[in-house]
């Protein structure tokens, strides 16, 4: 305990973040594979993993770069559909599901990165509220483009159309994306292990970035743009770097998410999903990676636990959200918490003193 305290803040965060994920894996994996935990929990593991990656990647933009992005689900969508196309095309070529999943995730990440780059160029010229609104618009644009996208594959290769499925002109092929109906023929290859590995990868990238020279430049831009510019930090470059990394990770999460369901539609990745992820980030604390992880897991499980209450489920969920926000962020709650901690420490010290007194006596 003392040793951990003496380490610097960076290492402490690292140990907490990696430790939490690895511990979760060590505890849950045997329980899942032996079927001890309920189907309900075990079915939620992969979605939770993807949302955790979404939350920590958004935390990079919102918490460290300090720009409110409301279109994060758009990148998830790009990654998801690219991943699906890749996985279905490679189905015959690569029999190993794990390898196929890996390639799909990488492809999803690259595609989302490209989208992040293209969107980042115009968007990052803006600041604050304006940037938030524009990211929102881009998220919707991505959703609407995918909504009228038709992709199919047959022996001649990949076909693409923006009008309808008939326009693909396939012969005995397989329709991959069917416009608003989304992708329907997905083989489920996502696994909890893959989810954990993806989280660890995302953590590795983000924690190292944040503590590197680039990361300090990014936080400097957040804290004072003019001062950062005056010491020679290229604002555009670092902003774009952070934004693209965030998009790549979201794309990877999207690909994993898609591989966990037999169907996905563009409709899923709308404004509401972006906001949901933002809620995870805000609740966990901006710039707090461990907080994002915990908040995501808790807030995802909560509505499922509340299923017993049927009609009142979402009402309770909303009340809990408000209460947690108040408890973690209001001044009064903070004071109360500090007082409690102080008292507790005092009592602990007293006990220690007494014990030592007994020993000495």
């Amino acid at each position: 305990m003392e040793k951990i305290k003496n380490l610097n803040k960076f290492t402490r965060t690292n140990i907490r973040a990696y430790g939490l994920i690895i511990l979760a894996f060590i505890v849950l994996f045997p329980l899942q594979s032996t079927g001890i935990i309920s189907n309900s929990i075990s079915g939620q593991l992969v979605p939770i993993c993807t949302y955790i990656v979404m939350a920590i990647s958004l935390n990079l933009t919102v918490g460290f770069l300090g720009e409110l992005s409301l279109g994060h689900a758009g990148f998830m969508s790009v990654g998801a559909f690219t991943g699906v196309i890749t996985a279905i095309c490679l189905q015959e070529v690569i029999p190993s599901a794990a390898l196929r999943l890996l390639i799909a995730i990488i492809a999803g990440g690259i595609a989302a990165g490209v989208a992040g780059f293209l969107i980042g160029i115009p968007v990052l010229r803006l600041r604050g509220d304006y940037l938030a609104i524009v990211t929102l618009a881009f998220g919707e644009i991505i959703k609407n483009i995918i909504n009228c996208l038709y992709v199919g594959v047959d022996s001649n290769g990949l076909h693409m159309s923006m009008t309808n499925a008939e326009a693909l002109g396939m012969i005995n092929g397989k329709l991959i994306i069917n416009g608003p109906q989304g992708a329907v023929g997905i083989t489920k290859i996502a696994s909890f292990t893959a989810g954990i590995l993806l989280i660890l990868f995302a953590l590795f990238i983000i924690l190292n970035l944040v503590n590197s020279k680039s990361g300090r430049a990014v936080t400097a831009i957040r804290d004072n743009r003019i001062a950062a510019e005056s010491v020679g930090i290229s604002v555009t470059r670092y902003k774009l770097t952070a934004f693209i990394i965030s998009a790549v990770l979201a794309g990877m999460a999207g690909a994993l998410y898609a591989m966990n369901f037999s169907t996905i539609a563009a409709k899923k990745f709308d404004f509401n999903t972006s906001i949901l992820i933002l809620v995870f980030v805000v609740l966990g604390g901006m710039g707090n990676i461990v907080g994002s992880i915990v908040a995501t897991a808790l807030l995802y499980i909560l509505p499922e636990l509340l299923r017993e209450y049927a009609d009142y489920r979402m009402l309770i969920y909303a009340i809990v959200l408000i209460l947690v926000m108040l408890l973690t962020n209001s001044e009064k709650a903070k004071q109360m918490r500090e007082r409690f901690v102080y008292k507790w420490k005092k009592r602990l010290r007293k006990n220690n003193d007494q014990q030592e007194g007994l020993k000495n006596g």
Partner: protein, 395 residues
């Protein structure tokens, strides 16, 4: 003042919590076959999920009253979302579900039908109409995207059937010279019906003068689409959409004094129950549906009376489909001597055999002599309905 509001808020909170606890009193019968249903009980499609739950509960009450095999129903909310539907499905599996009613809406059902297929739980969906739910259906070019899920069956018409049947009905009855279509291109159900309607209309030589689309995000203002249709001079507007946007289209068309005939499909059912909607605007609207609440046969009469007494409203087609699902499952279970102690996969095997048996016929609210093919589709004939004086009347 501060104190008062504090006390008031505490009382409110306690009241809410208590309200929650009172709501979860569930009627459980021991020694009953566990049937799980998933549907949107909250959100924009909630009317369908609730109708299915209500309809199924009435059927279960009747079936259980016979004293033989007992059924027990549990309904979980999916908010019309595939991810939530899979979560709900896993929850039902934990509960010990033996037969699944699938899900109410299409997209979630595609996800859940894959799960039931892998877990070998028999599923009969009341209202998820896409062929992707069943799998194994080729599209217009003969491409098969999903292999057949052999334990999934439908009680409703498939989307293609509805599109094709609508086109044929319009042609046969010569309902319109110039036809316009407004459909939701962000919705699987609506797009699916439209595509087949268009294909069949081309075949039959129907004159489609104008096709307009909208998406879920722009489902509030239809004046642009209606203006275009009006200018094209359409006398029949085909609306393969759900009733909420349809009610807006009707009132906006009325405001611009445009009065064509409107023709809908089963998603139009429910339009008379929209809040703040002037039902007189729906006068003369036609729709293709297998069920009407004003039918004069004994079965419908008793079902409608029970439904009205219990829930205070007229049942729609979804409630009727759910009712028929339970009746069909009951008959199939009795025919195959299925017992409560059997596992889900055993029941699944027997039910597949029964449903694909050509001698297995069901007389229900939505059709008489309904049979199922190995493709999972039901065979029954649609009825054309027209709204007159605020009720559906057979055409």
């Amino acid at each position: 003042m501060k104190k008062v509001s504090k006390i008031a808020s505490i009382i409110m909170a306690v009241a809410m919590v208590l309200a929650c606890f009172t709501s979860c009193g569930e009627s459980t019968t021991s020694n009953a076959i566990k049937i799980g249903a998933i549907g949107p009980l909250t959100g924009s499609a909630a009317i369908y999920g609730q109708a299915v739950e209500n309809g199924a509960l009435i059927a279960i009450e009747e079936v259980n009253a016979k004293g033989g095999l007992q059924f027990e129903l549990k309904c979980e909310d999916d908010e019309n979302d595939a991810e939530k539907a899979v979560n709900a499905y896993n929850k039902l599996k934990d509960w010990g579900m033996q037969i699944s009613l699938g899900t109410v809406t299409t997209q979630p059902c595609i996800a859940v039908s894959t799960e039931v297929n892998a877990d070998r739980i028999f599923a009969l969906t009341p209202s998820a109409s896409s062929t992707d739910v069943l799998g194994g259906q080729p599209d217009a070019d003969g491409n098969v995207t999903i292999p057949r899920k052999d334990n999934v069956f439908q009680m409703c018409f498939t989307d293609p059937n509805q599109g094709v049947a609508s086109a044929q009905y319009i042609k046969e009855q010569a309902l319109g010279e110039k036809i316009a279509v407004i459909y939701n291109n962000s919705d699987a159900y609506s797009t699916g019906i439209y595509q087949k309607f268009q294909a069949e209309a081309d075949k039959l030589g129907l004159n489609i003068v104008c096709v307009n689309t909208f998406s879920d995000d722009s489902a509030n203002d239809f004046t642009a689409q209606l203006n275009e249709i009006k200018q094209a001079g359409a006398d029949l507007v085909f609306l393969p959409i759900y009733y909420t946007p349809a009610s807006l289209i009707l009132s906006q068309a009325d405001k611009m004094q445009y009065e064509p005939k409107f023709f809908g499909v089963d998603g139009m059912d429910g339009i008379l129950t929209v809040e703040n909607f002037d039902t007189s605007l729906a006068e003369g609207v036609m729709l293709l549906t297998p069920f009407t609440a004003d039918a004069q046969d004994e079965m419908t009469k008793s079902f409608v009376a029970k439904y009205q007494e219990k829930y205070g409203e007229t049942p729609n087609q979804f409630a009727a489909d759910a009712y028929d699902c339970i009746i069909a499952l009951y008959d199939a279970c009795v025919n195959q001597n299925i017992e409560v102690s059997m596992s889900a996969s055993e029941i699944c095997k027997k039910l597949i055999a029964e449903f694909t048996n050509p001698n297995f016929k069901i007389d229900g609210l939505t059709g008489t002599g309904m049979t199922w093919s190995a493709t999972g589709e039901v065979s029954k004939s649609p009825k054309g309905m027209v709204i007159q004086n605020g009720v559906y009347v057979g055409m």
